[in-house]
């Protein structure tokens, strides 16, 4: 019996030990699996974190790239002179620019009722050009400027240009409105933007009607122009029908006309293919100035013919502008034809992007006593040389200094006595665009 109990105990103990051993082995196996699982999960976690970081980094890089490209786009679009104020909406692109200038002058002899030296407020020029669709263009130029009167100065706004144009193709553009006359190249290129002009003063033949000029500088009318390539170079043509000149040389007929004889201007231009940067124009204009009821010497109209040769060369270093003008005034009151000439040559030499010295020689040679010009002393000769330098000390700000000297005819105190004397004008100008 005891033996049996002993055997049973031994078997029991052995079974119990076996069961324990199995449990230990299972526990050991489960722990390893858990560890493997945890390791696997940690690995997956690390991989997911890495992927997340990479995705986040890529997004950030993309964003940075997008932002950098946007900034670069903006900078590239802003590459221009001044603020380059450009507005785009649907199919309208509008561009705004503002010009301004101020200065100081020493003049001998002095202007009537003025001293030899003075500072002056030049002008503020508000310019806008817009393209509406592919073919329509509008342009507006409004200038706030000051004028020197006999007793007091004045200032005010002038609408200098306002036109709309439909460009059918390069060969045909029809422009309608108020525009500067093409009879003077200077007038057409620079208008009122002093910053654009290389010099401070305008040539004698390109002075405005109110500033002692002999040409009609403003045209209210219709202009048909176009350009096309030829074997000799790019050719252009101009046909302009506009209000003509007023009774006096200073009258501008922008809003009405005193007679039905419209002024007709025809022009041809060529940019020779062999000389890059050169452009040549020829213009002819016919007009009839109405009688001046206050002046017995102007009881009948004056038939006016003008012929103009213009040249512009813009090379890498040199810039040349030149015009030759002939005016023939057929005075129907006195039955005399008066012949007038005016010309200038201006050369600028670009030393670098900042410094441009310049020289201009020009004058006008008038038949004295022309009743159209005589009341304002514009029938008198003048010849002069202008020497100066332009310093673009900022991209959109220029300082100019020039000395002009020459000889001119003068009427003494309203009498018919004419004498000739020298003059000298030293000018400083600060001009800008933004």
């Amino acid at each position: 019996m005891t033996r049996l109990w002993l055997i049973a105990l031994a078997l029991g103990a052995g079974f119990a030990g076996a069961v324990h051993a199995d449990e230990d082995a299972a526990a050991a196996q489960g722990g390893a699996a858990h560890e493997r699982r945890i390791g696997q999960l940690e690995k997956e976690n690390r991989e997911l974190r890495d992927r997340l970081e990479r995705v986040e980094q890529r997004d950030t890089d993309d964003q940075r790239t997008m932002i950098a490209e946007a900034v670069q786009d903006y900078e590239e679009q802003s590459a221009g002179v001044g603020l380059n104020m450009l507005v785009r909406r649907n199919d309208i692109t509008a561009m705004f620019q503002i010009f301004g200038h101020v200065g100081a002058v020493y003049s001998n002899p002095e202007k009537t009722n003025r001293s030899n030296t003075f500072f002056f407020n030049g002008s503020v020029d508000f310019f806008m050009s817009a393209k509406i669709g592919d073919h329509f263009q509008v342009l507006s130029e409004t200038v706030f400027q000051s004028g020197v009167g006999i007793d007091s100065d004045s200032s005010g706004f002038d609408q200098e240009r306002l036109w709309g144009a439909w460009r059918f193709s390069d060969a045909v553009q029809v422009k309608f409105g108020l525009e500067h006359s093409p009879i003077s190249l200077w007038n057409r290129v620079f208008h009122h933007g002093a910053w654009l002009e290389l010099t401070i003063s305008r040539p004698f033949l390109a002075r405005f009607e109110a500033g002692g000029g002999i040409l009609p500088m403003h045209n209210a009318g219709i202009e048909i122009t176009g350009s096309f390539p030829t074997a000799a170079g790019r050719a252009s043509y101009f046909v302009v029908v506009s209000n003509g000149r007023g009774p006096g040389a200073a009258d501008v007929q922008e809003f009405s006309d005193r007679n039905d004889h419209k002024a007709v201007t025809l022009g041809l231009a060529l940019e020779p293919a062999r000389v890059e940067g050169l452009k040549i124009w020829l213009f002819w204009r016919v007009d009839e100035a109405p009688p001046d009821t206050d002046d017995p010497a102007r009881a009948r109209p004056v038939r006016i013919h003008m012929f103009s040769f213009q040249l512009q060369y813009e090379g890498e270093k040199f810039e040349v502008l030149s015009e030759v003008l002939h005016i023939s005034n057929d005075d129907r009151t006195g039955g005399t034809t008066f012949e007038h000439w005016a010309a200038y040559v201006q050369v600028g030499y670009l030393l670098n992007d900042r410094w441009t010295p310049f020289l201009r020689v020009g004058g006008r040679w008038m038949d004295r006593g022309d009743p159209y010009y005589a009341p304002l002393n514009r029938d008198l000769d003048i010849f002069g040389v202008v020497l100066g330098v332009r310093f673009d000390f900022l991209d959109n700000v220029a300082m100019k200094l020039e000395i002009g000297a020459g000889e001119q005819e003068r009427r003494r105190g309203g009498s018919s006595t004419i004498d000739e004397g020298g003059y000298i004008v030293i000018s400083y100008q600060l001009s800008w665009i933004f």
Binding site: E69, Q72, D73, E76, Q77, A79, G80, V81, L86, T93, M95, Q97, F127, S129, A130, K131, D134, H135, Q137, L139, R161, W163, A165, R167, F168, S169, D170, K175, E179, R188, V189, F190, H191, G193, L196, S227, P229, R234, E271, A273, G277, E314, G315, E316, L351, N352, D353, W355, P357, L359, V385, L387, V389, D395, I403, A405, G406, E407, G422, I433
Partner: protein, 176 residues
């Protein structure tokens, strides 16, 4: 009159000399050894549906200076210039415009101000952006490095030659 002209003439000579000397001083007279340079050809790209396949160099210049504003099919040409700091833009300034960047900016203002052009050309920030603009607009024209022509655009022949051909006009040198 001689009393006026002669002093002015001498004054001009003196002024030119002084400014020339100043210019030389600013630019520096020492000439460093010329670095190695590589040739870079530029491709003129347009919309694939643009019927034009080739341009003469003078026609290309007229388009880029916006003297010619319309394609023969009366579609307005819109010019997209390469980035201002890129080698491609530098080559255009030298080969086509023949003026500095600043002078070109003044040229655009003059053209705008005289009413010759309704707006100045746009700049793009990269060849990819140029491709994107050209694919978008039927009348668009842009210039990209010939080795970076974007997909989906047409490359025009210039004077009957394509980029890489001997005698191709739109080639310049760049520092590697």
């Amino acid at each position: 009159m001689r009393r006026v002209i002669l002093p002015l003439f001498f004054a001009l000579s003196a002024l030119s000399g002084a400014l020339g000397g100043l210019n030389a001083a600013v630019a520096g007279d020492s000439k460093p050894a010329a670095p190695k340079q590589e040739a870079l050809g530029l491709a003129v790209i347009v919309h694939p549906k643009n019927p034009v396949k080739k341009l003469s160099f003078s026609e290309l210049r007229a388009f880029l200076k916006v003297k010619q504003q319309f394609w023969p099919n009366r579609q307005r040409c819109r010019v997209f210039l390469p980035p201002t700091r890129s080698a491609a833009y530098g080559i255009l300034l030298k080969r086509v415009y023949k003026m500095s960047h600043k002078k070109l900016q003044k040229y655009w203002v003059r053209q705008l101000f005289s009413g010759q052009i309704p707006s100045k050309p746009d700049f793009v920030s990269s060849s990819t952006a140029a491709g994107s603009q050209v694919r978008k607009a039927l009348g668009a024209l842009s210039i990209v490095p010939a080795n970076r022509v974007p997909k989906g655009v047409k490359v025009l022949l210039i004077d009957g030659k394509r980029p890489g051909d001997k005698g191709y006009a739109l080639v310049g040198t760049i520092k590697p």
